[in-house]
């Protein structure tokens, strides 16, 4: 099964690249079939309930370092596998509808398959190095996908930026892995777990905190947490199905998945957990604030994803990794649905992404509209839908021990309701705000069927997960007292946010708010891109220029050329002496003899 899950998408990517690309239909079918194979195998794995780690392939073994490609089927992996393959399959089908007319359709599906392969590798990984391998591969495939329309300078630039920021995270993750290896002499999850169980207090806390933060660095870049969140909006430069894959079901949640996977290490260090919780909370709030003032439909969704990821990371930081996984799973359904819905809209109105140029789409694209509404309600926490359950779980775990985080996350939930309602009201309701809308029509069934399936999961995803036989793992903590008040507060902010946005934005033609100081701050994403450019990009540039000057004038100029000048001068000087003139030689000889003789007489005799 393991070989099938991982192998199918890989084989598809290779086959398409080496020859199948000439035939578009064959490429698409192979890619979708491969994804279906993975999904079916994941289903089988899910219901066969295996727990232990396998090793399938010995990558190498030197001394005491043994790296294997293996697989792990604990509850965490099984849940994630099922979710990732399932959503990926729907996105593959949608992608065919969306990308049909693109000339490079085959190339797109090859990359999609490679992406699926990489993500599934992270999910199955049974040791840290294998996880790192696929971790980097996910960075690569997202780079290739975001830069799919490489002729567009913006896409080329965005893909480069995304990859570089991913490498920053790889840097920290690698050091974290090295640290784990140093502390427990193992990289294998099962071995590590038993080593920590038998010997929990054997290590120094400072080193442990550093190691945990190193591992968390990987998550910060992959899950776009503050301050490395800047790449996520750029990722919307890729085609819409890519945005869905990257944002919703797979890439960004890989970071959270990794945190849950190594949670048994993270939880040894309270300081590290605190850092994680704070970073998550800041991200949740900051992204929601930015989303308030964005006008590009995909960017609003991107920031919304960011904000939800902040929730998950904060949950891990509050030692509630099960709740984080729960939110991750429900989020995958409705966020994929939102992105695909946005894709359907963009496709329908010929690649217009500004919500202030839409409006009135609810009649033109009814299926897209209604599924989009379902997803919005699921995200914003409409009672009974998927997001409500998982958000409630996270908030409940914060309620007692972390009152500040609880307050911030609750406020963020209200903001979420506000900006999502704004999006729906402006884009779908009211009058048509521009000409592009008048030609809009509902998308083909390749695109609508995935929307419908995902909307079903967005509705039932919340309660059904609690009935899948994963109780041991997803024993979402029952905080008896307080739960009712948490639910009440959650519903309260949901209602306030939704109603407020509806009242403020219904039948508006343009953005009604322009608060000095605040609006530009949100619109410009707290100037995080500018800060990134000033520190990281400029810093590297300045250092590079300075060192280049040093190399040219000091190393190559002064020292190397200097040496050659010195040897030239001494050569010239010696040439003067050795002119081939016999008289001169005799004079030198006489002087030499006199010189030696002088010293002999003076000192020796």
């Amino acid at each position: 099964m393991n070989w099938l899950i991982l192998g199918a998408p890989l084989v598809s990517a290779v086959l398409i690249t080496i020859g199948l690309y000439k035939n578009k239909i064959a490429s698409v079918s192979v890619s979708i079939a491969a994804c279906a194979v993975s999904f079916t195998s994941a289903l089988i794995v899910f219901f066969s309930g295996e727990y232990w780690g396998y090793s399938e392939y010995l990558w190498f073994q030197v001394g005491d370092l043994k790296v294997e490609i293996g697989a792990m089927h604990d509850d965490l992996a099984r849940l994630m596998l099922l979710m990732a393959t399932g959503v990926a399959l729907l996105i593959h089908i949608f992608a065919y509808g969306y990308m049909k007319e693109d000339e490079a359709l085959s190339r797109f599906f090859a990359k999609l398959s490679l992406f699926t392969f990489s993500v599934l590798g992270i999910v199955m990984a049974n040791n840290l190095v294998m996880m790192f391998i696929f971790w980097v591969l996910v960075g690569l495939s997202s780079y290739l996908l975001i830069g799919f329309w490489f002729q567009r300078p913006a896409a080329a630039e965005a893909s480069k930026k995304v990859f570089i920021i991913n490498r920053l995270g790889d840097f920290g993750f690698l050091l974290g892995i090295l640290g784990v290896w140093m502390l427990w002499d193992s990289i294998d999850f099962l071995t590590l777990k038993s080593a920590i169980k038998t010997n929990p207090n054997s290590t120094d806390t400072f080193g442990l905190t550093l190691v945990a933060i190193g591992l968390f660095c990987g998550c910060v870049s992959k899950s776009a947490q503050f301050p490395l969140h800047i790449w996520l909006p750029d990722a919307t430069e890729g085609p819409t199905p890519v945005s869905a894959l990257i944002h919703a079901a797979t890439m960004v949640v890989a970071g959270v998945y990794m945190l849950c996977r190594v949670f048994f290490i993270l939880e040894l260090s309270e300081n590290a957990l605190l850092v994680i919780a704070i970073v998550g909370t800041v991200t949740a709030l900051g992204a929601a604030l930015i989303a308030l003032q964005q006008n590009d439909i995909k960017r609003i969704l991107a920031y919304s994803t960011l904000s939800q990821l902040g929730y998950m990371v904060a949950a891990v930081g509050m030692a509630a990794s099960a709740e984080a996984m729960f939110h991750l799973t429900t989020h995958a359904f409705y966020m994929a649905l939102l992105f695909l819905g946005a894709g359907s809209v963009i496709y329908g109105i010929h690649h217009e992404q500004d919500i202030w140029k839409m409006g009135g789409l609810c009649k033109k694209m009814p299926i897209t509209f209604w599924t989009f509404v379902v997803a919005t309600l699921a995200l914003t926490g409409f009672p009974g839908l998927a997001g409500f359950y998982s958000k409630e779980a996270i908030l409940s775990s914060a309620y007692h021990d972390h009152p500040i985080i609880f307050g911030v996350l609750l406020f963020t939930a209200g903001l979420t309701a506000f900006y999502m309602t704004r999006l729906v009201v402006v884009a779908f309701l009211g009058k048509e705000k521009s000409g592009v809308v008048s030609h809009a029509r509902e998308s083909s069934w390749y695109m609508t069927i995935p929307l419908i399936i995902l909307s079903i999961f967005s509705v039932i995803g919340g309660w059904s997960i609690n009935h899948l036989g994963l109780e041991d793992f997803l024993h979402v903590h029952q905080h008896e007292e307080g739960t009712i008040s948490v639910i009440a507060m959650l519903i309260g902010v949901f209602v306030i946010g939704t109603v407020l946005a509806f009242v403020l934005y219904n039948n508006r033609e343009s953005e009604p708010f322009d608060i000095p100081m605040v609006s530009p701050l949100f619109k410009n994403k707290f100037y995080s891109d500018e800060i990134y450019k000033l520190t990281f990009v400029k810093g590297h540039q300045m250092l590079a220029t300075g060192l280049s000057w040093f190399d040219r004038w000091i190393i190559d100029g002064l020292i190397v050329r200097g040496l050659s000048v010195i040897s030239n001068i001494s050569g010239e000087a010696l040439r003067l002496i050795q002119g081939g003139n016999l008289q001169a030689y005799i004079i030198f000889f006489v002087f030499g003899v006199a010189f030696i003789g002088f010293f002999l007489f003076r000192y020796a005799l």
């Binding site: 030197v62 370092l65 490489f150 002729q151 480069k160 570089i164 840097f171 050091l175 060192l547």
Partner: protein, 492 residues
């Protein structure tokens, strides 16, 4: 099978003779390097990975003066030399493949190429330090000719500078080898005898502190260790593609090969004593040269600097001084050789099409020449250390090995953390190069560009890529070969 090594050495000599007599130069060279590759693969086939001793031994006496001086033409290989041989034969074949048939003074050109390859093969199969050194010199001299005659702009200066540097390096190296020789209880150049002689009691710490710095500087100049790196970028940017593929890809690895053969087993105290110096220099290679790479505005210069930068990782492996890091070093030597050759070869293809390698004048190649762009991106990814390709496996081993080695020298932790920033630096410049060359809108220089016309044109690059994939997906092959070597080096 024992004649195989002589066969490997005789083939290029015969090919050179044939070219002199009048055989078509490129075809003869191609034929000879193809035979070289096939017989190296056959060698790998017949190679016993379990055996601890050298294999395919040949020992022919050359000079025997009782009590004074004995010299044997002593050939043999172990896992490490086998890996180097495979690298050499693959790079040689692709270097010959990509060279134009109608190059000026073609006879001399192909003879030079074959001699470079011959020298490298000879150095890697010699079990006698005298011949090891001599073969390396055989490889160096045609390199200067290749740059001086067939180089691009500024070739005279580049060739002179490179000659002076590498000759100076060779001299320091010679001094080191002589010191090594005379400090032996019974002076000999024979590696097998040295191994037996030094079992148990090695050189004293004082002796090591004389020999090791000479070897480090001598080999270091050949490898472009900071601050002796100035020759490399200029030389590489100027030299014809085939020459730079062979030099940056193969000959440079000879320096590390020598250090592993001599310094690791016999001079551990020297390595420990000079570790701080080595660490500073290797960080300069990684970070300082890395930053220089960022400022390059020409693809060839950038690749040259990048190649120098990656030498830092290999030195980090040496600093780790344990089985994992040395194994990673050998793997990275092979992978780096393949990826450097691939990138320089592709740069030559791009120059042929666009007439320039300035970033400002390139762009959008992927839409005109998708296969060329694909291979270029693959080479770039290999050099950045992306999994699936050999460099990643080597770097992972080096990081883990050096991290283990840091238990004895805690300063290494800091060095590794700084060195890992190289990951980010190489991503920045490589991705920028890929973006400006392959992506974006089509530049005027590439408007008429054509992709590879047929399989034959792409073959040398696919061959190198296949090598990278093999080392990246199956690093266990090399670590199996390396196991007895590491035992011999006293590391396991």
């Amino acid at each position: 099978m024992n004649f195989m090594l002589q066969f490997l050495l005789i083939t290029p000599v015969l090919a050179c003779l044939a070219i002199i007599i009048g055989a078509p130069a490129k075809r003869t060279a191609l034929f000879s390097s193809l035979i070289g590759l096939i017989s190296t693969v056959a060698l790998a086939w017949g190679f016993d990975a379990e055996a601890e001793a050298f294999q395919f031994i040949t020992k022919i006496p050359v000079a025997e003066h009782q009590d004074l001086f004995t010299l044997h033409f002593h050939l043999g290989i172990d896992g490490m030399s086998l890996a180097m041989l495979l690298l050499t034969s693959v790079v040689t074949l692709s270097a010959v493949c990509i060279s134009p048939e109608d190059i000026k003074r073609g006879k001399l050109f192909y003879i030079c190429l074959l001699l470079v390859s011959l020298g490298a093969v000879g150095a890697f199969v010699s079990l006698d330090l005298f011949f090891l050194y001599a073969f390396h010199a055989v490889a160096l001299i045609p390199t200067f000719l290749l740059i001086g005659i067939w180089g691009t702009h500024d070739r005279k200066f580049a060739a002179t500078q490179m000659t002076i540097y590498l000759m100076a390096g060779s001299l320091v190296l010679l001094a080191g080898l002589l010191a090594f020789y005379f400090y032996l209880p019974e002076p000999t150049f024979d590696l097998v005898e040295i191994q037996e002689m030094l079992q148990g009691d090695s050189f004293t710490a004082e002796q090591q502190s004389v020999i090791y710095p000479l070897l480090l500087i001598g080999f270091g100049i050949l490898i472009a260790l900071f601050p002796f790196h100035s020759w490399a970028p200029r030389g590489y940017a100027t030299s014809p593609a085939a020459c730079v593929m062979l030099h940056a890809g193969v000959l440079k690895q000879f320096g590390f090969y020598g250090l592993i053969r001599l310094a690791v087993p016999y001079l551990p105290d020297g390595i420990a004593q000079y570790l701080p110096l080595l660490l500073v220099l290797l960080l300069c290679n990684l970070i300082y040269i890395g930053f220089l790479t960022l400022t390059q505005k020409d693809l060839n210069l950038m690749l040259a600097f990048s190649s120098v930068m990656h030498m830092g990782y290999l030195f980090l492996g040496l600093a780790g001084m344990n089985a994992v890091s040395i194994n990673g070093m050998v793997l990275l030597m092979v992978a780096h050789g393949l990826s450097t050759a691939l990138l320089f070869g592709l740069a030559a293809e791009i120059r042929e099409r666009a007439g320039t390698l300035h970033f400002a004048e390139l762009g959008g190649m992927a839409s005109k020449a998708p296969w060329l762009a694909f291979l270029f991106i693959a080479g770039g990814m290999a050099s950045m250390g992306l999994p699936g390709l050999g460099n990643f496996a080597g770097e992972v081993m080096i990081y883990f090995g050096a991290w283990k080695g840091a238990e004895h020298h805690p300063i290494l932790y800091i060095v590794i953390i700084l060195a890992a920033w190289g990951l980010v630096i190489s991503a920045i410049y490589m991705l920028r190069a890929i973006k400006t060359v392959c992506y974006g809108s089509l530049s005027d220089s590439l408007r008429e560009t054509e992709d590879f016309k047929d399989f034959a044109q792409a073959f040398p690059f696919l061959l190198l890529l296949a090598g990278l994939l093999l080392t990246g997906l199956c690093p266990w092959i090399l670590s199996n070969w390396m196991k007895p070597v590491l035992v011999g080096l006293g590391l396991e």
